[in-house]
Assembly symmetry: C2
Homo-oligomer: 345 residues x 2
DNA sequence: GGCACTTGCTAATCCGATTTAGCGGAGATC
DNA sequence: GATCTCCGCTAAATCGGATTAGCAAGTGCC
């Protein structure tokens, strides 16, 4: 790549000064005395020649590359992914950093190779991210490095974590139902325990359930039932279908994720029940479909963009990093799937 | 970042040879004679010390950074995004390259800044990507550079393009309908012209329509009608709803994208029509929802992963790049939304 | 034994910046 | 007038590798 770039030596020559002077003038450092005349000559020469510093040469000397590494297990397979990276990108750009994105696919050997590749290229810091909130153990190469854990926790590993505030999200969902008058006939559909197929069950499901139950209890209400299942559309359909077939008549559903809600909608529609007149639905994640459904789905959003942004801002901050856990708020997206409670039949 | 890394000088000292010898031994070059004894001493020393070459120092000298820049207007807002990047990542990793991901948001000034940032860091090549296939004009900084255009075309700009084969996709959709016996009552729903709100209408819509009509014509069939609208769920719902209200009774719908199909499903369901018994639906893109819908949607998939993979493979290939257009096949995902044609009422 | 050639290795330079050490000249001090 | 201090700037070293030029010892040949 590249044509013959203009070097600082070229600029210095043209300005009639030494490379040293050019360097100080261009970097604008004040601890070395440069006359205003010399400074402007250098600046003019640099502008004339269209000079751009070679970041590679610079970072060889300074040990800082203005570069970050983003290591994650999977970057596709939404809901995570896109917006997180975009948030990280935005924050990085604000500080003139570029982002290396990598994906390990969950393979330790691949992970190790990629992390080494990043380290070899002198990244200033590494964001170690997981697509579903869970416990991780970062590779040994990262020990002692400037690392931030995104959407994961690593007890014993000295680095800060940034995760969504799932407990508060559970409370938010509960309050949304309570505010509409729902105090009975509430069912939770989805994964709330550690289920093999849904690794996030460990975390998101558990914490959401905790927050939900806490807020219901405080209001003197409670769940009529909890249905355990995976977090896919088909699971939501199957379980709600079964629930209705068994004769239950829920007034409100709290679904683990929008995909489950999607399935729930299908089952409710087939049973001739309408949302939100017959059944209210509140959900989590705020995927695209939440807005497409009819009626549009009220859901507690995963703050993807904010997670990415915050991670980069913390890691590019000045101070040393303390191993604390930052919980990012999950905002409620009010749409049309929660209706007023009706007196129980 | 970084602790005190082991340098090549350390390795040389430990092996009792000169840095030059260490360099040649480690890089495995054969044009310089190194005895087997010396070579293994160096290798052993490197292994003992856990030596890893400093990629920054290397690229300063070699002008190659084993690094690629990925510049796109938007990386979130599926359908593009995730899988494309993953494909690119996979191909890059196979060749020991790391990927800088950037997002311009469509802003020329931002774009220019990011491209310069990439160039400053000595990227070996740049992939200039667009989320919707359309014509672009890459920034001047990229002229004369090793560039590949992904999902876009730039007449007059000397670089290869990689785009999905939309014409053939249109044929594929048409053939799927014909194979099921559909020859009448076929409607196209979506954008097929250059519509402001759907920039891809320029390309994808136009080409898909061309392929579709060609294949229908060849079979002696034709479209009963074409409905122009944007590419969102609500548009599909509204237009199909209106179509039915006007008394039309389509036997098959060809929707511009799965989101439109999603809306079409909603309208058909409300009208008491079932898919595929009453109406067959074939679509494009293969987004996640295609598999969640009931019945699951038959759709012609955008080859996201393959687009990303192919882009990187081409650009990391040896030869010079010729400005040709590579069209990546779009495979048909057969699911359950196309049923056999019934004799027209 | 002398010359050419190969073998195996090293010294020195380069890549393009940053950074440290230090050098002339002007003005101040005694 | 000699010494001291600033000022403004430059020479040279440095970062960690890759690469070029070349040197000493050994081998082959006549």
């Amino acid at each position: 790549m590249s044509g013959n770039r203009v070097t600082m030596a070229d600029v210095a020559r043209r300005a009639g000064v030494s490379p040293t002077t050019a360097s100080f003038a261009l970097s604008g450092r004040t601890d070395m005395r440069i006359s205003e005349a010399a400074r402007s000559k250098v600046l003019a020469a640099a502008a004339d020649l269209g000079y751009r510093p070679n970041a590679t040469a610079r970072s060889l000397r300074t040990k800082s590359s203005q570069t970050l590494g983003f290591v994650s297990d999977t970057i596709t397979t939404t809901p995570f992914a896109g917006e997180v990276i975009r948030g990280a990108l935005d924050a990085a750009r604000a500080k003139d950093h570029l982002l290396f994105i990598t994906e390990t696919g969950g393979d330790r050997a691949v992970e190790s190779g990629l992390v080494n590749g990043l380290l070899d290229r002198q990244v200033d810091a590494v964001i170690y991210a997981a697509m579903y909130t869970h416990y991780v153990s970062p590779p040994p190469e990262l020990h002692g490095r400037r690392v931030l854990l995104l959407n994961c926790l690593a007890p014993g590993f000295d680095a800060p974590s940034v995760i969504p505030d799932e407990i508060e999200a559970g409370r938010t969902a509960g309050r949304a139902l309570l505010a509409a008058g729902h105090a009975a006939g509430i069912w939770a559909i989805g994964g709330h325990q550690a289920i093999p197929a849904t690794p996030d069950g460990i975390f998101a499901g558990l914490e959401r359930m905790r927050g939900l139950q806490e807020v219901l209890r405080d209001a003197g209400a409670r769940l009529d039932g909890v249905v355990e299942c995976d977090w896919n559309a088909e699971d939501g359909y199957r379980e709600v279908d079964r629930l209705l077939a068994e004769g239950h008549r829920p007034r409100a559903l709290v679904c683990s994720t929008d995909r489950v809600s999607f399935g729930a909608y299908q089952a409710l529609a087939e049973a001739g029940l309408s949302v939100p007149q017959d059944v209210s639905v509140v959900s989590f994640d705020d995927q695209d479909i939440a807005g497409w459904l009819k009626p549009a789905l009220t859901t507690v959003a995963l703050p993807h963009h904010e997670l990415g942004r915050k991670a980069v801002e913390l890691i590019l901050g000045d101070g040393p990093l303390s191993a604390e856990t930052h919980r990012v708020p999950m905002p409620l997206r009010k749409r049309d799937s929660i209706g007023p409670a009706r007196p129980t039949a």
